[in-house]
């Protein structure tokens, strides 16, 4: 029983390939059924987003599993053969496969490291696998763990904290000047895409009052409607600027639209309340001399991009901390997986029964101090007989299911029925077991 991950992502395949493999939600059920119908594939989860298409599966044999999943992926699109796909694919097994799943969930493998959508997409993929009964004991546990690992990474590192887009960097800067964006007013000058995006982010962050102006009055009206704001005649916006706490400027004009004296005047009329100006236009529309005016804070496109670059750097730093968390969590889950093997469970079950038997025998023998050897033998025989007969069915079933699809489920059940996890002795055994199990896993990987 092994875990594998096979797929393509933005790192290994261009969009032309990814789009052909992508499975739309409507066909997810059918795809999952097809995946699980391949012999040797016991459980499967299919994650299909615009940046990746990958399959996580529990298989009997790794090589066979790899081949089957590759076939499955190629079959999703008629024009692709299995061989054509080979250069784009990656294959992971066991601890590497689990690590990959965790990294994907924690958004370490995303195009923009730390972006949060992937976690929702993974949850959806998992829901689908549950609905279509494609995932079982092992993948259920793995994906749930992946989700909790992703949350842990997000709370313990700053991976998703900082802005990594120019438009969002503007919001981040605004937050360093104004503590409550809810009571601030933004003035949008021009209809450049990036400025509109920044305005949208600001509104999402609480800004309620929006003023819009463009050279074309019709455009201003439309924009104002879109942002639920106020349109202002282009000739007058310099006067209205005193009303605005945040000025977003992005037009196609080739000269300065806002001059230093305009800002100076606005600041004066604002009684020195700070004003935050963002110039996303190239060529610039706000005179650079504005930076020398007290209580006016001007940032141009280069400043925002520098900020984004610094944040990316920060995210990369945080990513290495996240990797350590993931390593740690992979070890935990490997330990759990190891415990799902049939043999140690049988050993633990026998041991537990033996302990109970011995304990009960001691009690009885203590009560009858003067028993003859025959009598002792008879009582011992009785105990042994009952224990063995009771265990017989469980042991036979476990052995029989050792290589079947449901083995993990039976092991899990046996452990619960006989409380094998709680007993003090098996636990003790576990701890001496750990190094060995890890050795075994890393051995398998090579």
């Amino acid at each position: 029983m092994n875990i594998i991950a096979v797929g393509i992502s933005h790192k290994t395949a261009p969009v032309e390939v990814r789009e052909r493999l992508a499975v739309p939600d409507s066909r997810l059920g059918e795809a999952l059924h097809r995946l699980c119908s391949y012999p040797g594939i016991k459980e499967g989860v299919l994650l299909s987003t615009c940046n990746r298409v990958e399959v996580y599966a529990v298989v009997e044999d790794v090589e066979v599993g790899y081949a089957r999943v590759q076939e499955f992926l190629a079959d999703t699109h008629l024009s692709l053969s299995s061989e054509q796909l080979t250069p784009y694919l990656y294959w992971h097994m066991d601890d590497r496969a689990i690590g990959h799943l965790f990294r994907v969930a924690a958004s370490l493998d995303s195009m923009i490291v730390g972006e949060p959508q992937i976690l929702g997409q993974l949850k959806d993929a998992f829901e689908a696998a549950l609905t279509h009964k494609a995932s079982g004991v092992i993948l259920n546990k793995l994906v749930k763990k992946a989700i909790s690992v992703a949350k842990r990474v997000r709370t313990e590192t700053k991976i998703a904290e900082t802005a990594v887009s120019v438009s969002y960097a503007a919001v981040e800067l605004a937050r360093k000047i104004f503590s409550n964006l809810g009571e601030k007013t933004v003035l949008l000058v021009g209809a450049g895409e990036m400025a509109k995006l920044a305005a949208k982010h600001l509104i999402n962050s609480g800004v309620r009052r929006v003023m819009v102006t463009t050279r074309n009055p019709q455009g201003a009206l439309e924009l104002a409607k879109r942002f639920n704001g106020l349109s202002i005649p282009f000739d007058e916006f310099r006067r209205e600027m005193a009303e605005a706490d945040i000025v977003l400027c992005s037009t196609g004009a080739s000269q300065y639209l806002i001059r230093a004296e305009d800002v100076q005047q606005a600041v004066r009329r604002r009684l020195n309340r700070p004003i935050f100006l963002i110039d996303i236009s190239v060529p610039r529309n706000i005179e650079p001399a504005v930076k020398d005016i007290d209580n006016a804070f001007l940032f141009d496109i280069d400043d925002l991009e520098m900020r984004v670059e610094q944040n990316r750097e920060e995210r990369r730093r945080e990513a290495s901390r996240a990797e350590r968390i993931i390593e740690e969590e992979v070890r935990v889950i490997l330990h759990w997986l190891k415990s799902l093997d049939v043999t140690p469970t049988i050993v633990a079950l026998r041991k537990r029964a033996e302990e109970i038997k011995q304990a009960e025998l001691e009690k009885v023998m203590g009560r009858f101090g003067h028993l003859s050897p025959q009598e002792r033998g008879a009582i011992e025989g009785l105990a042994t007989g009952i224990v063995n007969k009771l265990l017989h069915g469980s042991l036979v079933t476990l052995k029989a299911e050792a290589d079947s699809a449901g083995s993990a489920m039976f092991v899990e059940a046996a452990k619960r029925f006989y409380s094998l996890d709680q007993a003090p002795t098996p636990e003790h055994q576990d701890s001496t077991d750990t190094p060995e199990s890890e050795r075994e896993h890393s051995g398998k990987d090579r």
């Binding site: 800067l173 937050r175 360093k176 000047i177 104004f178 503590s179 409550n180 604002r270 009684l271 020195n272 309340r273 700070p274 930076k291 007290d294 209580n295 804070f297 940032f299 400043d303 520098m306 900020r307 610094q310």
Partner: protein, 267 residues
């Protein structure tokens, strides 16, 4: 003797200051918890020290400069803890705690004996308490102004460093500056009036035009102008930050003058 608690407070504030300064310069947020815990324990020790001293003396412990400085330091930490609980701005501690430490150190350097008050002077503590509370307001305004200027400078020069990341938004600092003056100024005014009244009873003249009294009046006028300027013609933000820093410097000068002349007893 309350001295052990006083010394314990001193040591705790010293360690707390160290941690808060390290917090200021490190990327990690983890140090803030340690710094806060140490400050909290220090504050408790300080409270015990003040209470024991009060019981020993039988009056509010504000009759000597040692006591006044210790009280000043205690109130600073109290204000910091209140702002911290409400706004979670840990970095404020990196500025407030050093100030509390300095005032406690100066308290330690001043004569510690409990003065025996002449009956005519036993109302002097009202004057001292009010003036000290007013001064705490100015001290907080000073800290807010200092932080404002640093953050303003970082934003203007586009240096987005660790300090930038930790300092709160500009308008929060400006608001803190304003609130501190609005609270501090009336307290100082009442403090001066109370002082004049005690002097009137003690000496028969409420003002004898000595340099410290003059400085105190200058300070009062200064803050009056700062406050009015803010409320009417927009002396806020950077200008307010500069003015409150200058104002606090005046306050400290007054203090030094009074202490040097008074040699320990307020009268």
């Amino acid at each position: 003797m309350p001295v052990p608690f006083f010394m314990a407070t001193l040591v705790l504030y010293l360690i707390g200051t160290g941690f808060f300064l390290a917090y200021l310069l490190r990327r990690s947020e983890a140090l803030s918890k340690v710094s806060l815990a140490i400050t909290g324990i220090g504050f408790l020790a300080h409270t015990v020290a003040l209470l024991t001293r009060m019981m020993e003396a039988g009056h509010v412990p504000l009759a000597s400069f040692h006591e006044a400085m210790s009280f000043f330091s205690w109130t600073l930490v109290l204000v910091f803890l209140i702002v911290e609980v409400r706004h979670r701005i840990h970095v404020l501690g990196s500025f407030m705690l050093p100030l509390a430490l300095i005032s406690l150190l100066s308290a330690a350097a001043l004569p510690k004996e409990v003065p025996t008050l002449e009956p005519v002077l036993n109302t002097v503590w009202v004057h001292v308490t009010l003036s000290m509370l007013g001064t705490v307001g100015f001290a907080v305004a000073f800290v807010a102004g200092l932080m404002y200027l640093i953050q303003d400078g970082l934003l203007k020069s586009k240096r987005f460093n660790v300090l930038y990341a930790k300092l709160p938004p500009l308008d929060f600092l400006d608001h803190l500056n304003q609130q501190s003056i609005i609270l501090g100024f009336p307290l100082l005014t009442l403090g001066i009036i109370a002082g004049a009244l005690s002097a009137e009873f003690a000496r028969g003249s409420f003002l004898n035009w000595n340099p410290e009294q003059l400085w105190a009046l200058v300070t009062w006028v200064f803050y009056f102008v700062v406050l009015m300027g803010r409320l009417t013609v927009g002396w806020r933000a950077k200008r307010a930050a500069y003015l409150t820093i200058i104002g606090f410097a005046c306050v400290i000068l007054t203090f030094i003058g009074v202490v040097l002349k008074g040699h320990g007893a307020i009268a």
